[in-house]
């Protein structure tokens, strides 16, 4: 049905961004396009519907049945009607001033009535027809994504391209939306190209998975066959996904970071990060070799063993009760009041109590809106709680503003933070060395700042030469490690980590998580680890609390909570984790 041949994308200066991508999608087939940031997967999708950013040009061919999609002028007959695009961010892709009904009516062919709108909404699982009269801001992220899906399907396209449709959603919502996509696609016998960075999602939802790296396809395989990858990059990705079922002694990432596509046009793009690379790998770009029902771009395929190592270690015993309490949070409440004509209240924390022992690691898990970030901000003194008490190292730090300045300085040295977004957590105006030195001086001792900066960088696995760099010259994972070094410079006893790897590609997550585990185990720094990712929590923490709507609904040893959850919400959360297993053969439509 869709036949893409040798698709390329160039920027205004003819630098290659996507190189020679070829694949086919049959009717009723789901093809997953998987890759990390910079792999070119979104550009590939946008090229197919001619929505590339203005200065970019596409080449090659993409035929949908008998229609060429690339380089067309009369797109209106094709876009929406035959091929539709579902975008990532449900919060910005709907017009805030138009109701759900308006969105659908303008997309539906011919004169649409209320009955048709209701029918379309019902198809995407919205049974309440009153939703048609609502505005986007009145809907949750999952609901918006459903409305956007209904709008994308309005003209009954034969092919739907979904670009990271569930990335901005919570895991439980993600599961529902994926199931919905799958059901609609089966019913309509529609082709689906699902673009995602998450290999687990792709395997679960797709018949076939295409792996992209630095602008090129490196492997194509049926989901079921991915247990035995045929390209070292795929193997590395599979290994990088942390396990939710057991604790790994070493978290394996892929060393280095993704190169720019234009820098690797005449060689194997993965050679620099590959454990099996040999000199011949860098001599020319290896083509995608067809191996029957799969294909790989590794010239050494068959000659190397890519099966993942089986590694597991017993989960650490929780030690919190045996040690002195470092952080004690008692009955914490935070209510946000809006200012304006209609005063509304929002309870972010509804009485949260927890404690962290010296050197212990505690996970706080929950979905967006559960209050976990508010909890972190209160502990860090970035927001004052409405009521309750926070004690840190014997010091009452409920309100940092009311502390005497000597006590405030003491508290600031006890607790430090690693923030979620590595792109905004470092000052772009200063070098890494400046940032670290500034933090070191807060320790208040006489020390050789320069050599301390070097040893901090060494601690987080970065070369000393990075001290002279500015954040713009660092990748996301490197920035996050600098942010950890900045926090460790103060020698805190508690490190608050607010989603420290959520913004990172999976292949570099492991490096950051390893640094945090090292800080916890070797330096004895306690962790308050906030995450939505249960697998990450399993790898890093001893104990866990589960938050839901501002309350703690379950707590216990991390392994116990994940292996045998008792609260219904925790059960749902655990079940929503996309597992590494592919979806069952029975549903699959294997087509040529």
């Amino acid at each position: 049905m869709l036949d893409v041949r040798d698709l390329t994308v160039h920027d205004g200066r003819s630098r290659v961004l996507v190189r020679g991508v070829s694949f086919r999608v049959g009717p009723g087939e789901t093809v997953g396009l998987v890759g990390e940031s910079g792999s070119g997967k979104s550009l590939t999708a946008r090229a197919l519907v001619s929505l590339l950013p203005q200065e970019l040009r596409s080449g090659g061919s993409a035929r949908l049945d008998d229609t060429e999609l690339l380089g067309r002028k009369d797109l209106r007959g094709v876009r929406g009607h035959r091929v539709a695009l579902l975008m990532q961010d449900p919060f910005t892709m709907l017009n805030p001033l138009a109701t759900v009904g308006t969105h659908l009516v303008e997309s539906l062919p011919g004169r649409a009535d209320r009955v048709e709108v209701a029918r379309r909404l019902a198809e995407v699982g919205i049974d309440d027809p009153a939703v048609a009269g609502r505005y986007p801001f009145q809907l949750s992220g999952g609901m918006r994504q459903r409305v956007a899906l209904a709008a994308a399907l309005a003209k009954d396209p034969g092919l739907l391209i979904a670009d990271e449709p569930t990335t901005a959603l919570d895991v439980t919502t993600q599961r529902d939306v994926l199931a919905l996509l799958r059901r609609i696609q089966t019913e309509r016998r529609m082709g689906l190209v699902l673009i995602t960075h998450d290999l687990r999602v792709a395997r679960q939802a797709c018949d076939r998975v295409l792996v992209m790296y630095a602008g090129a396809l490196v492997e194509s395989a049926r989901s079921a066959d991915l247990d035995a990858p045929a390209h070292p990059y795929t193997a590395g990705l599979l290994r990088s996904v942390p396990s939710v079922t057991h604790r790994q002694p070493v978290l394996l990432g892929i060393p280095g970071s993704v190169p720019a596509a234009a820098d690797v046009v005449d060689r194997c793009p993965f050679a620099d990060r590959c454990g099996w690379a040999e000199p011949a790998c860098t001599e020319h770009a290896p083509p995608l070799v067809d191996l029957g029902d799969r294909a790989t771009a590794c010239r050494r395929h068959g000659g190397i063993d890519l099966s993942p190592p089986e590694l597991a270690e017993p989960d650490a015993e929780p030690v919190g009760d045996a040690r002195a309490t470092l952080l004690d949070v008692a009955d914490l409440v935070k209510v946000y009041r809006s200012i304006g004509l209609r005063r509304t209240e929002h309870t972010a924390l509804a009485g949260v109590s927890l404690h962290v022992g010296e050197g212990e690691s505690l996970a706080v898990v929950g979905e967006s809106g559960s209050g976990k970030t508010t909890l972190a901000r209160a502990v860090l003194g970035l927001t004052d709680p409405t009521s309750g008490r926070i004690t840190l190292g014997g010091l009452d730090v409920t309100s940092y503003r009311r502390l005497r300045s000597a006590d405030r300085a003491r508290a600031r040295r006890l607790v430090q933070c690693v923030f979620q977004d590595p792109y905004s957590s470092l000052n772009p105006a200063h070098t890494v060395g400046y940032t670290l030195a500034e933090s070191l001086r807060r320790r208040g001792e006489d020390l050789d700042v320069e050599s301390e900066v070097d040893s901090l960088l060494d601690l987080v696995g970065l070369p000393a030469s990075y001290a002279g760099r500015r954040p713009v010259a660092l990748s996301g994972g490197q920035r996050q490690r600098v942010a950890i070094a900045r926090a460790l410079a103060v020698r805190p006893r508690l490190l608050v980590c607010d989603e420290p790897v959520a913004a990172l590609d999976v292949s570099v997550q492991a490096q950051v998580l390893e640094v945090l585990r090292k800080a916890n185990r070797e330096l004895g720094i306690a962790l308050l680890f906030i995450t939505h990712d249960l697998a990450v929590a399993r790898q890093v923490t001893d104990r866990m609390v589960v938050m839901h709507r501002g309350r703690i609904v379950e707590h216990g040893a991390t392994a116990d909570v994940l292996d045998a959850p008792t609260h219904p919400y925790t059960v749902r959360l655990v079940q929503s984790v996309p597992d590494a297993a592919p979806h069952t053969e029975g549903e699959a439509h294997v087509t040529q």
């Binding site: 933070c417 977004d421 200063h430 713009v472």
Partner: protein, 270 residues
């Protein structure tokens, strides 16, 4: 590209003229030649003479000093004051912010040039007074822009990280926020320069600002407007110079802002 090069070239010439005025001017700008008044351009007087027989070119060259110095003082004064107040208002928030911003709103309601004319006119003119009034009236608008630049930065994680590390307010303001709002400050600085150049010229045109007899572009425009038939160059010369300098500074300022804000920023986040 070519426009920017021309702008830089034109500005360079004006600055050189300001520095070397006495040496390169063909005549004494104040010397009158009552036998040769309002002469059109010739080999001796390239831009002719005005109605007192003074050489127009020499007066234009002498006028570069007030044309550059006044606006530069205004721009610097506005930049320093608006940055300090804007940083304070944006970072402190609360009642401090409210008080400052209401005062800003108040000044906003006043038409600046009109007030300048009234104040300078009532107090008998004078170049320093004109400069002071222009500073006072330009600070609010720039304060507002600096404040909004600070608001965009203050909730970014790096500022919260600086607070968590335990840095003091002064250090966060000047070592962390200031470098990141500097592109806005510099862009405003150059726009204030242009505004002050035109504003001071307008005041001089109305006979306020620089003293009588002083060679000043705005004043020349006023003095020579009657010569439009006899020696049009005497009027067109200062008008063209004011326009060229204002346009050049604006163009180069745009470029400078782009360069400064590109530094340290991400080319693209995937």
């Amino acid at each position: 590209m070519i426009v920017r090069a021309l702008s830089a070239f034109a500005l360079g010439l004006v600055v050189i003229a300001a520095l070397l005025g006495d040496w390169i001017a063909p005549f004494d700008p104040g010397a009158q030649d009552l036998a040769g008044t309002a002469m059109p351009p010739d080999a001796a007087h390239w831009l002719g003479t005005d109605e007192l027989g003074r050489d127009v070119l020499s007066r234009l060259i002498a006028g570069t000093r007030t044309a550059l110095l006044g606006p530069a003082l205004v721009a610097l004064g506005v930049a320093v004051l608006s940055t300090a107040i804007g940083l304070l208002a944006g970072y402190r928030g609360g009642w401090v912010d409210s008080a400052i911003m209401r005062a800003v709103d108040l000044v906003y309601a006043i038409p600046p040039l009109l007030v300048a004319i009234v104040v300078v006119g009532v107090f008998g003119g004078g170049y320093p007074l004109a400069i002071g009034v222009l500073i006072a009236l330009s600070v609010p608008a720039d304060t507002r822009m600096v404040r909004s630049a600070v608001l965009a930065q203050r909730n970014l994680a790096y500022v919260e990280a600086a607070r968590t590390v335990g840095l003091g307010r002064g250090r966060i303001l000047f070592a962390h926020l200031l470098p990141n709002v500097l592109p806005t400050v510099v862009a405003n600085l150059l726009l204030s320069f242009v505004g002050a150049l035109v504003g001071l010229a307008a005041l001089a045109f109305l006979g306020l600002g620089v003293g009588t007899g002083a060679p000043d572009w705005g004043r020349m425009l006023a003095e020579n407007k009657g010569l439009v038939d006899l020696n049009p160059a005497a009027m067109i010369g200062p008008a063209v110079l004011i326009t060229v300098v204002a346009a050049s500074v604006t163009l180069l300022g745009d470029r400078l802002y782009d360069l400064m804000s590109a530094r340290g920023r991400d080319a693209g986040r995937a």
